[in-house]
C-alpha cells in the first residue's frame, strides 16, 4: 500500500450529501431559531467593556499578589473582578462590573469600600487611591458599532457575491454566514463566559472564516455548472465532494492552530480562541451541509441559466428580428 500521497479524505469520494437535504435544512432552521432564542433569552455575560462598571485603585503597604486578591474578592462574593497591577507593585486596579443600567456613579462609593475590605488583609492593609466608573453610554456606543459593523459586512458580502456570482448565491452565502455567527454566539452564551471585546473580534472573524469556506464550494459549483452537463443536484454533490478534502484539511489546520491559542494563550485569549474553534466547526459543517441544499429551495433554486454569462443572452436577443 502506498503511503504517499497522504490523504485525510480518500480521493474520489461520492457521498450523496443532497439526498438528506430536507433533513439538513430542517436542522438549519431549528438551530437558527434556537440560536436567536438563546441569545435573546439568556443573553451574554458582558464584561466591563460593554456594561460599564467601577474601577477601584488600591495601594497596599507591601507588594501584593494579584491572584491572592482575586481569590479573596471571589470569597467575599465580588465576582468578575479584574485585578491588575497599576504603576508599582503596591498598587492594584480592581474592576468590578456594574449593573446593565448603571449610568451614574452613585453606588460607586459603597462598592469601593466593599472591594477594599475584601482585598485587604490584616497583615497588608490597603487604602483607596481613587475610584472610577465607566458610564453605560460609552458601552452603549460600543455595542451599536458592533452591530453596524456586522450589518455592513453582510451587505458587503451580498453586493460582492452578487456581482461575482449571482444574487441567489449571495443571499445563501450571507444567510449561512449569519447562521454561523448566531450559532457560535448562542454556544458562547450557553458557556456563560465573559463577553468582552476580544470575543467580539472572535465572532467577527468567524464571519470571515465562514464566508471563505462557503465561497470555495460555490466557486466549484459555478465551475461545474458551466462545464459539466448534469442535473443541479448531481452538480452540487460533485462540487461538495471535490472540495471536501480541501474543506476538511483547512478547517483541521485552522482548528488546531486556534486550539494552540486556547491552550497556551492564557485567560485573555481563551474567549477569543473558543469562538474561533466553534466557528471553525460550525462554518465547515454549514458549508458542506447547508449552503448547497439551500440553493435548491423556492426562489433560491439555482439553474444552469443563472450561471451562464448574461452578455451572450442579451446579444442573442438583440440579434432576433
Amino acid at each position: 500500500m502506498k503511503i504517499f500521497p497522504l490523504t485525510l479524505v480518500p480521493s474520489g469520494t461520492r457521498i450523496d450529501f443532497m439526498r438528506l437535504r430536507h433533513v439538513w435544512v430542517a436542522m438549519f432552521l431549528l438551530l437558527f431559531v434556537g440560536s436567536f432564542a438563546v441569545v435573546g433569552l439568556k443573553g451574554f455575560n458582558f464584561a466591563l467593556d460593554f456594561t460599564g462598571g467601577t474601577a477601584v485603585n488600591v495601594r497596599f503597604d507591601k507588594p501584593v499578589g494579584v491572584d491572592d486578591v482575586r481569590e479573596r474578592l471571589e470569597n467575599a462574593g465580588i465576582s468578575n473582578a479584574q485585578v491588575q497591577t497599576f504603576g508599582s507593585g503596591n498598587d492594584l486596579l480592581i474592576r468590578v462590573r456594574g449593573d446593565e443600567a448603571q449610568v451614574s456613579v452613585d453606588g460607586n462609593t459603597q462598592l469601593a469600600q466593599d472591594v477594599l475590605a475584601a482585598a485587604s488583609s490584616e497583615a497588608n492593609p490597603g487604602r483607596i487611591l481613587s475610584t472610577e466608573s465607566i458610564g453605560a453610554q460609552v458601552s452603549g456606543d460600543l455595542r451599536k458599532n458592533a452591530i453596524y459593523a456586522a450589518i455592513f459586512v453582510l451587505v458587503g458580502f451580498l453586493l460582492y457575491i452578487s456581482v461575482r456570482f449571482e444574487w441567489k448565491f449571495a443571499v445563501v452565502a450571507s444567510v449561512t454566514t449569519l447562521f454561523d455567527v448566531m450559532v457560535v454566539a448562542a454556544m458562547f452564551s450557553l458557556t456563560g463566559r465573559e463577553f468582552d471585546l476580544t470575543v467580539m473580534a472572535g465572532l467577527l472573524s468567524v464571519m470571515g472564516f465562514s464566508i471563505n469556506d462557503t465561497i470555495v464550494v460555490f466557486d466549484r459549483v459555478r465551475e461545474n455548472f458551466r462545464g459539466v452537463r448534469a442535473e443541479p443536484l448531481e452538480i452540487f454533490n460533485r462540487s461538495i465532494n471535490q472540495t471536501l478534502s480541501r474543506t476538511i484539511i483547512t478547517s483541521l489546520v485552522f482548528f488546531l492552530s486556534v486550539l494552540a491559542l486556547f491552550l497556551y494563550g492564557g485567560g485573555s485569549l481563551e474567549g477569543l480562541a473558543l469562538t474561533q474553534m466553534m466557528g471553525a466547526v460550525v462554518g465547515t459543517l454549514s458549508s458542506i451541509f447547508i449552503a448547497c441544499p439551500l440553493l435548491t429551495y423556492g426562489i433560491l433554486r439555482v439553474t444552469k441559466q443563472d450561471l451562464l454569462p448574461k452578455a451572450k443572452d442579451e446579444a442573442a436577443l438583440s440579434r432576433r428580428p
Partner: protein
C-alpha cells in the same frame, strides 16, 4: 510550459529583503528606562544633571545600563522594570518640579535601521501597558464663559439698535443684568435681547428657553435649568472631541477616550510611556486671545512703575519680559477660531501661523480693523499648566495660567476672517498651530489622575500570545511538510514570508499590536493556509485526472487562483467594514486581517509558484510530483 517571468523573481527578492529589514526592529528588546525632561525654562539638561542623576542612582543602589543625553532629555536605561520603578521613585522627589520624570521604553534598534524608517511595532495597552489619564472638565467655567458670550451679544444688539444702556453684566448666579439708561425703550430692548438670545442659544425665549423679566429700566435674563445642564454637558462633549483630535495628533494607534461619570474624561495611550510629552500635548490648554493694544511699551513701563493702570487695560508681558498695555475686552477668543496652519510668511520668509476665524469672530475683527488701521493688535497666548505641590505630605493639585503676548503687530490693513500672525519661531509656530487647530476647549480641563499601566500583565499577555501563535505556526508547518512533502516545504516557506510581511508592514505603518490583533493574525494565517491547500489539492486533482506533472502544476495554480481571489476578497470586505465601524481594538484586528489577507494572496499565488517553478522547471523527465 512551466515558466515564470524573471521580473517576478526580482520582485519576490525585493519584497523578501524589505520585509526582513522592516520586521527586524521587533527582534530588539526595549530597555525599561527613565526619561527626564525639563518642565520649566530654567531647567537645563546637561552634564551636571547627568552626574547628579548618576550619583543619586548609585546612592539608591540602582545600576543603570547607561545614561545618555538626547536632544532635550536625559535617558537612563535600566535592566528591568523593578529597577525602573525604583529609579523613578528615587529621582522624582529629588529633582523637584523643574523636571518631569517619566517611565519609558527606550528603543535599542541600531541607528542604521532607524535611519531607514524601520521601527518596532508598538504594543497595545493590553500588551505592554501605557499611559492612563483622567481629566476633569471645569463645567462652571464653561457656563460662565457661555453666559459672558450672551452678555456680549446683548451689548452688541443694543448698541446696534441705538438703545442706551449703562451696564450689561453677568451676575454670580449666572444671570445677566441689563440696566438701561433713563428713557430708553424697554420693550424695544426686550425684543432685541430675546432675538439675540434665541439665535445664540438656539431656543426661543420663554418655555424651556431663557427667561426675561423686566423691572423698570432693569432687565434680567435667566437661563433655564435645562439649558444650564445642556451647556455643562456640551462642554464635556466638545472637550472630548478636541482631546480626541489631540490624541490623534500624538499618533497613538488605538487610544481609548471614554467619558467617565459627569465631567471626566479617561485617556489611555497604549505603548506610550512618556507621560511628559503626552501631557504637554493633551493638557496644555493653549488658546489665543486677540486684544487691542491700548498703550505701547513705554506707557506700560510707566504704568507698572507708577502702579497707575488705566481701568480698561491690563498689563501683559512678552517673552522677554517687556510689559504692554492691552484692552481688558477680548476682541476674538480661541473658540471663534476655525483653523490655524503653520506657514512661511511670503513677504518676510519667517515662520507664521495662518489663522481663520468663524464668521462672528471675522465680523468683529473686520469691525475692529476698519477703525483701527495703524493701531496695534495684541495676541495673547494663554496656557494652563497643571501643577502638583506637596504640602504636609499631601498632594495639592492646582493649575497656573501663563499669559504672554506673542505678537503685537501693527494692523497693516483691514482684514476679516483670514489673516496671519508672525513673530514665532519655527517650532513655536508648528506647535501653536497644531494645538489651535485641534480645536478650542469649551472649558478648562485639569488632570486629576495620571497613571502608568503596569507592564506586568502586558508582558504576560505578550509571552502567552507569542507562545500560542508560535505553537500554532509550527504545528501547521510540520503538518504541511508531511502531508504535501515538497509542496509542503514550499507552502511553509510561503507562510513564513507571509508572517514576515505582515510584521514588516505593521511595523512600517506604526500599527499597534493588541490582543485582538493576535486574533487577526491567527485568522490571516488560517486564510493563507487555505490558499495553499486550495492550490495543492487542485494539483493533486489534476494529477489524478491523468494530466502530466508540469501541466498539472500550471493548471492547478491557474484554476485555484480564481477561487483564492474570490474567497480572499470577501475577507477583505469584512476587514474594511470592521475598520470603518470599529472602535480602537476592533480596528487593530481589522488592520492585521487585511494586511494578512493581502500578503497571503501574494505569497500563495506568486511566491509559492515561483519556488515550485524553480524546483521543477529544470527537470526534463518529470514523472511524478512529491505532493
Amino acid at each position: 510550459m512551466l515558466e515564470f517571468p524573471r521580473w517576478k523573481y526580482a520582485l519576490i527578492l525585493v519584497v523578501l529583503v524589505l520585509a526582513a529589514l522592516y520586521a527586524l526592529p521587533n527582534a530588539y528588546q526595549k530597555n525599561p528606562s527613565v526619561q527626564i525632561t525639563p518642565s520649566t525654562s530654567e531647567a537645563r539638561i546637561d552634564e551636571a544633571l547627568k552626574t547628579r542623576v548618576e550619583g543619586l542612582l548609585t546612592a539608591a543602589g540602582v545600576t543603570s545600563v547607561g545614561t545618555e543625553i538626547d536632544e532635550n532629555h536625559l535617558l537612563v536605561r535600566l535592566h528591568d522594570s523593578d529597577a525602573q520603578t525604583l529609579a523613578s521613585d528615587t529621582l522624582r522627589p529629588e529633582l523637584g518640579e523643574n523636571y518631569s520624570v517619566a517611565l519609558n521604553l527606550a528603543s535599542t534598534v541600531p541607528d542604521w535601521l532607524s535611519n531607514m524608517g524601520a521601527r518596532p511595532m508598538s504594543l497595545g495597552l493590553d500588551l505592554q501597558g501605557g499611559v492612563h489619564f483622567v481629566m476633569q472638565v471645569d463645567q462652571a467655567a464653561a457656563l460662565q464663559k457661555r453666559v459672558e458670550g450672551y452678555a456680549d451679544g446683548i451689548r452688541t444688539v443694543l448698541r446696534d439698535a441705538r438703545i442706551g444702556y449703562s451696564s450689561v453684566e453677568r451676575r454670580n448666579d449666572n444671570s445677566i443684568g441689563v440696566v438701561l439708561t433713563e428713557g430708553a425703550d424697554v420693550n424695544a430692548a426686550r425684543t432685541q435681547i430675546s432675538t439675540s438670545l434665541a439665535s445664540a442659544s438656539g431656543q426661543a425665549v420663554g418655555g424651556s428657553g431663557p427667561q426675561i423679566t423686566t423691572e423698570g429700566n432693569r432687565i434680567t435674563v435667566r437661563l433655564s435649568p435645562g439649558e444650564i445642564s445642556r451647556i455643562a454637558s456640551d462642554a464635556v462633549e466638545q472637550n472630548r472631541t478636541v482631546i480626541s483630535n489631540r490624541i490623534n495628533a500624538i499618533g497613538v494607534a488605538e487610544p481609548v477616550l471614554q467619558r467617565q461619570g459627569e465631567d471626566r474624561l479617561v485617556i489611555q495611550l497604549p505603548g506610550l510611556q512618556d507621560t511628559a510629552e503626552a501631557k504637554r500635548l493633551i493638557g496644555a490648554t493653549a488658546t489665543l486671545e486677540f486684544r487691542a493694544v491700548t498703550g505701547d511699551e513705554n506707557q506700560a513701563a510707566a504704568a507698572v512703575a507708577s502702579g497707575n493702570i488705566p481701568a480698561d487695560s491690563r498689563i501683559y508681558y512678552n517673552d522677554a519680559g517687556t510689559p504692554l498695555l492691552l484692552s481688558r475686552r477680548i476682541l476674538v477668543s480661541g473658540d471663534q477660531l476655525i483653523n490655524a496652519n503653520p506657514q512661511t510668511d511670503s513677504q518676510t520668509g519667517t515662520p507664521a501661523v495662518g489663522i481663520t476665524l468663524n464668521s462672528a469672530g471675522g465680523k468683529r475683527m473686520l469691525d475692529h480693523t476698519l477703525q483701527n488701521v495703524g493701531q496695534r493688535l495684541g495676541i495673547v497666548y494663554v496656557e494652563r499648566i497643571p501643577t502638583v505641590r506637596m504640602v504636609d505630605g499631601e498632594e495639592v493639585r492646582s493649575s497656573r495660567s501663563v499669559e504672554r503676548v506673542i505678537s503685537s503687530s501693527t494692523i497693516r490693513g483691514v482684514f476679516g476672517r483670514e489673516f496671519q500672525t508672525t513673530g514665532l519661531s519655527r517650532e513655536e509656530s508648528t506647535d501653536l498651530a497644531s494645538q489651535l487647530k485641534a480645536g478650542a476647549l469649551a472649558a478648562p480641563m485639569d488632570f486629576v489622575e495620571e497613571r502608568v499601566v503596569g507592564p506586568s500583565l502586558g508582558a504576560e499577555n505578550v509571552e502567552r500570545g507569542l507562545t500560542a501563535v508560535l505553537y500554532a505556526f509550527f504545528f501547521t508547518l510540520i503538518f504541511f511538510m508531511f502531508y504535501y512533502r515538497m509542496f509542503g516545504i514550499v507552502t511553509c516557506l510561503a507562510l513564513i514570508l507571509n508572517l514576515l510581511i505582515v510584521v514588516a508592514v505593521m511595523s512600517l505603518f506604526g500599527a499597534t499590536m493588541s490582543l485582538p490583533g493576535f486574533a487577526g493574525l491567527a485568522l490571516s494565517i488560517g486564510l493563507s493556509v487555505d490558499a495553499n491547500v486550495l492550490i495543492n489539492e487542485r494539483i493533486r486533482e489534476e494529477l489524478r485526472a491523468g494530466m502530466p506533472p508540469k501541466a498539472a502544476i500550471v493548471t492547478g495554480y491557474e484554476k485555484a487562483s480564481d477561487t483564492i481571489f474570490d474567497s480572499n476578497l470577501t475577507g477583505i470586505i469584512a476587514g474594511v467594514a470592521l475598520y470603518a465601524f470599529g472602535t480602537g481594538p476592533l480596528q487593530g484586528f481589522a488592520v492585521t486581517l487585511v494586511i494578512g489577507i493581502t500578503a497571503s494572496m501574494f505569497t500563495a499565488i506568486v511566491v509559492s509558484r515561483a519556488l515550485v517553478t524553480l524546483i521543477y522547471a529544470p527537470r526534463k523527465k518529470l514523472k511524478s510530483l512529491a505532493i
